[in-house]
Symmetry: C2
Subunit: 419 residues, 2 copies
Amino acid sequence: MSEVREMLVAAKTAARKFMNTSGEKRNEALFAIAEALEDQAEAILAANDLDIEAAKEKIGEVMIDRLRLTKERIAGIAKGVREVAALPDPLARNLQTIVRPNGLKIEKIAVPLGVVAIIYESRPNVTADAAALCIKSGNVCVLRGGSNAYRTSAKIVGIMKVALVKVGLDENLVNMPTDTSRQSATELMTAVGLVDVLIPRGGAGLIRSCVENAKVPCIETGTGICHLYIDESAELDTALNLVENAKTSRPSVCNAEEVCLVHRSIANAYLPALKARLVENRIADGKPPVELRLCERAQKIVDGVAATETDFDTEFLDYILAVKIVDSVQEAIEHIAAHSTGHSDGIVTRSEENARAFVAGVDSAAVYVNASTRFTDGGEFGKGCEIGISTQKMHARGPMGLEELTTYKYVVYGDGQIR
Amino acid sequence: MSEVREMLVAAKTAARKFMNTSGEKRNEALFAIAEALEDQAEAILAANDLDIEAAKEKIGEVMIDRLRLTKERIAGIAKGVREVAALPDPLARNLQTIVRPNGLKIEKIAVPLGVVAIIYESRPNVTADAAALCIKSGNVCVLRGGSNAYRTSAKIVGIMKVALVKVGLDENLVNMPTDTSRQSATELMTAVGLVDVLIPRGGAGLIRSCVENAKVPCIETGTGICHLYIDESAELDTALNLVENAKTSRPSVCNAEEVCLVHRSIANAYLPALKARLVENRIADGKPPVELRLCERAQKIVDGVAATETDFDTEFLDYILAVKIVDSVQEAIEHIAAHSTGHSDGIVTRSEENARAFVAGVDSAAVYVNASTRFTDGGEFGKGCEIGISTQKMHARGPMGLEELTTYKYVVYGDGQIR
């Protein structure tokens, strides 16, 4: 039996015992983990130094920064684990009680998913975050991170295992294969009956590979080609603030805006102001300017790069914004239907009627009226945390918190009923 | 573009319009469909005769019976469609309203899944049932049934399409490929971005093929190796009634019992009584007797066929019951963990403590205390209908009714909030 398969068999056994552990005990584990991570920060940093040394020739500075831990970042990770412990117990939920005419009492109760596999990139903080969310929700996790962070993540997982054992829990609640080749990822994707849910976290390529190859239930996450549509009735200042925020506050994340649709009757007023806001003012303020990629009609109003057709189907994750003029809210809705990834799309408007039409017509996980798409996030939605943002419709949609890491079972109480 | 792909593109477009259709309009469509099916019963029966004639040499009498329609069965189908119309609108649900400190108002509202593909066997009644459930829940369906029922199903779909157009809806809300080869099924399973959810309905082979090959989100349904555990404290009569009902009331369905676990301290009293009830009494009453497949210890108490190891991992769907003596409720739980498909498993007991242990320890979609496993059914659970019974943990578990055919979206209302 391969390492991954052996790990999964042990994980499944551990999951059955863990599913009935009290919320108190799960929190005890989280506090023990937070403390252990802080206590052993030096050892984690030593492993991290080795990872960074080895990765330096292979990856660029941005990726190195995502890989790097510091004492402060470790303290931040530990704080995050304690914050997860403080959240409400997602398993303490009786979702429904049904009493049938024949006297059967059916209770629908929240239970853990079981074994959750997470495939992610070389980000050591995800190792601790994902494990904390799984422990809090009664799930066993198998963490398959990127190879560049292997030493750091392995150290973190080792520390977590010892902390689990210290509070009387099974070390197999948190697992990480030593194999970081494609092979271990493929094994996780195809372990039918052993992996209850697979969650990929990372770039479009990783997610696509999981969706294409997974035989176990998989949740598609993260890719965001997000739109803001500036309606003819939009308040100009609001429309400028929202687009600047959605585009520039953190361009590398999935809820950042990639495309701005503008109603033709406001375009002459809006586009020059937008260009001033996103290009000239930002240069004057020493901030990175946004490259505007303009449709033909927009090019007649302001200067900018001519947009190609692929610009409206690209998750730039950069200071680039595709701009298109449309004739109506309906055309905006149609464009979004054809080009959005169904993550987050919004309208800026003062018309209740157009807001209603947009909300009804746009089939995305989050649909905004007069707010930045950047709010699509577990914390901002009041969930207190986030394991990922689902862009599929099955199981969960949008930010996934602790409740989305649970399923339910029906418990049926009778006194001899037959059918 | 292939037929299936063209169909899916049209289905996706139709789904976007259909998602905002009122509950009234969807019900109007269902009533029009019910009426049309009754009105054109003769044409359906003519198509059905051709199907049966062609299938006679290929399939056995049981399968022919599932394929056969009669005037009464068509009336039953139409009645079923009207009953679906009478159920509450699953889209008229605001699932949650969150008001954030920054003033954002987030509404989590129920919406249709979108395009639902259903792959099923040669059962014309499923064609109408599945379409009705999808229409009621605002979904567009692609129905890929077995080839032996093709003419009948195509006629039913044709009638439904005309009825949809008559009430002003799109004929593309209900779709069926003319290709009934493996190719069309494979295309549905791999149409990433066009099929929102795939639901296989049928035997273990069909479901396995979908789970293994699907790249689109798929719900594993139906396979049921269901257990009843007779605890040492069980009331004998109750235990006999429940096992007879769970095993013999309809052995061919997924919620029928396949395995009976018996506590050793009640086995001497229970097993002879069980044999009398399931074998001798049934023969005397002219009913089909149950073949008992006994573990070694059980064979020392009553006569019967010696069970092989595979008998405890087989969905017999027949008058066969595997019987095993266990030493404790814990051993019963362990056996179920190792051999159950996670569909429906129960305990017969008078001990609250053992009931609690069993309910906590068994991780199946439905866990029973003193009732027949046969109740795992949308109707019996008060859902009024059923598109299938999920045996996976993602999205839905157990009987799936109208609510399980929906997802949700978040609508976020702001007045210019930025992050």
